[in-house]
Symmetry: C2
Subunit: 460 residues, 2 copies
């Protein structure tokens, strides 16, 4: 029976002087003349376990030559070592190689560049860095599920395949089962009646509209799934495939929305700090100095709430030389976000944006010029969530769709949410990789997702 | 401040004689001359709350005409009614319409056919049936996350976009950002160097191979995400988009795999029975009589473990007239699964399948003829999970790939799991809709997923 290393570390007293069996991978091997130390990791725990072996073992010579990366089975006796750096050791009784590893194994115990590790994305989870990042990612995902489920939200799986191109088909991947080399044509167009769905199909970039239909039945819902963008943009923050969370709440206005966003983010940060102390310490030390302080500071901040207009006032009043001039009609730039979060020294909700730069479904404010949208910007990471109160008035919604050239016929079903017992409701979207970057201090989205997909890059 | 109906029902004593505000949707309105009853549901709880209103309210006449589907705000005083069918009532002090609903609202309080409800998939969560099904779906998803996370598994988001067509590109959707009407051609082929990823891309049907690379770092991992199949097949159990769970465990053999599958399934069933008692009762009464007994019986069963060879022996010995003759070389048919689960009156693991009908990555047994695969079949639903011990020997794996015409160059990175510290490992896949059907008794996959995608059907 195999003991997992996490169990061993978390319940070490119960294992004292017990003989156990572990299985894992060799991280280092320091062999001396009469004894040696194997550091072994089985992936269940961030820290390695130190295995002490000596010449009394039959295969001592063989073990002395064990290479990094081999998988091994070790029977040994647990010794608590409170005076040492590591809290326990395993004194080996029997050591067996399970799987060999050649000398040219790419993941050696030294510093590798992030760029190199992206080229071996299938091996990089074996490094300390990606062990930490992907464990934090997994735990953060669980924190999100727990927050919403514990608060009674329904988890809804909105569809990825869609035939409505109201997002603009340029921004969505086209999908097909047809032979692309010999597409059937009719009247100069591709004849999609021969395709699997009988019409042109896409993979979508948002589940919000479907989510709203479920909020009109369950009050509180959330989505959590993969999302796709076709942007041909090679930056540190863009990927063509990423994961997103889109909660939607009936009977909830903009103020209520901000309450939920703040509560959720604090819940997730607190959960990760508690569940991943070793991983956070590692990131704090080797990825982004001050990370832990930043996260703890967030927990103790009351998030500022300020309008877009007030933000522009502040930016204009400052003596900064802006690359992009602040304007009441425009989006705010990265440099502005940075200034604002530093000005308030914490997360800031920016509300009531000019309607022309926001989506058609956002509620028009009584000034006729702004919409009840809110972006949450946080120190260092910038925008973390974007949301809005939705326009619940059918006439106003149709006007906005018409102004913004959105074909309402394509999504007539969506308009039923306004025809049949509509109500005030709000929702937001959070890019999950953006959150992972915030939680780990990782600066490139390619290092926050297991197998990144970016322009010209779809390996593995 | 709004009180959610779930909180009210779960903590009713705390609310006795308190004045509260609820918001929700009118399910029925029975108006009499001097008083009336509104049944209101806010989606947080399966049962409606009964609101009593009387002529003392200013807008009594208006309320008497409230229609099904309207959204409403109700202030009232909570009265416990232990002698009645419902445990509490709300005596209205003030009732306000929030959102109107016309008389031709499609979801009236009567029985609708499932076919009709599929045509209004955006409204069907407002019915009792789909309230129950989609709440159970959400809770079952959470149960899966809890089971794996509580046991230390890493949740890994494997990519959906892939450029390796080792699954056979006929079985995957092709994706593109190019203009399909004017595809760039080079030497008679589509010139995918001009596409976003610089080569032809697909959306994949499995995250297993990527999952294995993570199991070689974290020991225990699982995926849970959407999956795509291009099958042009109109049956009750096929959809082109569905969700799947794919766990993968290092240092785990076929017996260990079955232990995990059994433990996980029992955990999920028990969790849903505890968290969704009203929804399960509803399904037991209106969807599949005997559902609750079936689920409880599963909890108390020790799953049978039997080889494919032994299954064929049993089928041959029986006096049944088979449509498909049982054969040691072939798959077993639906009628066989039914016989076997009835024979053992419970779930059955069928192991050691003929190699020619199974995938290349499954471990070849010492007989040279069978592989260490296992299907779990359950009464009524048939196959619920399929898994195997993986072939960890590189040479044998390459032989099997060659035999089955799988291009090993396309997935050379995958083979690194066998080159660098490989070990015995195992994994399985479970279709999530299949599980939802099992838990609810729903017979058509179109009713187990919010917005089904099937051939010629991609509405909403």
């Amino acid at each position: 029976m195999r003991t997992k290393v996490k169990q061993l570390f978390l319940n070490k007293e119960a294992y004292e002087e017990k003989q156990i069996t572990i299985m894992g991978w060799v991280k280092t091997n320091r062999a001396q003349a009469q004894f040696g130390f194997l550091n072994v990791n089985d992936g269940t725990y961030f820290d390695n376990i130190q295995v002490v072996y000596d010449e009394k073992l039959d295969n001592f010579d063989e073990i002395s030559k064990f290479r990094v990366g081999m998988s091994v089975k070790i029977e040994g006796v647990v010794k608590l070592t409170p005076q040492m750096k590591q809290p326990l050791e395993l004194h080996a009784v029997c050591i067996e190689m399970l799987g060999d590893c050649p000398e040219d194994y790419p993941i050696q115990p030294k510093r590798h560049t992030r760029e190199f590790l992206r080229d071996v994305a299938h091996l990089r989870p074996r490094t300390n860095l990606f062990h930490a990042v992907f464990r934090i990612r997994s735990v953060a995902a669980m924190a999100i599920h727990r927050y919403f489920q514990d608060n009674g939200y329904l988890y809804v799986h909105t569809p990825l395949i869609t035939c409505a191109d109201c997002e603009g088909s340029d921004q969505m991947f086209k999908i097909s089962t047809l032979d692309l080399k010999n597409l059937p044509m009719a009247e100069g167009k591709v004849d999609f009646t021969k395709d699997l769905f009988g019409k042109q199909a896409f993979i979508t970039g948002s589940g919000q509209l479907h989510g709203e239909t479920f909020a009109m039945a369950f009050s509180d819902i959330y989505t959590f799934g993969p999302t796709f963008r076709t942007e041909n943009s090679n930056t540190k923050t863009h990927a063509n495939e990423f994961w997103m969370i889109e909660p939607e709440m009936a009977f909830c206005d903009l103020e209520g929305l901000m309450d939920i966003e703040e509560e959720m983010l604090k819940y997730v940060v607190n959960y990760v700090l508690k569940e991943c102390p070793l991983e956070i310490d590692f990131c704090d030390q080797f990825v982004a100095k001050g990370l832990k302080d930043k996260l703890n500071h967030l927990l103790n901040s009351k998030f500022v709430r300020i309008t877009h207009h007030e933000v522009i006032d502040l930016l204009k009043k400052s003596n900064n030389k802006w690359e992009f001039l602040p304007s009441y009609e425009d989006d705010i730039a990265k440099e502005h976000e940075k200034y604002i979060t530093e000005y308030f020294n914490g997360p800031v909700f920016i509300t009531n944006w000019p309607k022309d730069i926001k989506a058609y479904y956002m509620k028009l404010n009584s000034d006729g010029k702004t919409v009840a949208a809110v972006d949450l910007v946080v120190p260092q990471a910038g925008e973390l969530m974007g949301g809005s109160q939705r326009e619940e008035d059918l006439e106003k919604l149709l006007n906005r769709m018409s102004e913004m050239h959105v074909d309402s016929k394509e999504i007539d079903w969506y308009l039923d949410t306004r025809r049949y017992g509509g109500c005030i409701h709000s929702g937001f979207g959070m890019g999950f990789e953006r959150l992972v970057m915030y939680l780990t201090g990782i600066e490139n989205i390619r290092d926050a997702i297991p197998f990144p997909r970016t322009p010209k890059n779809c390996e593995f």
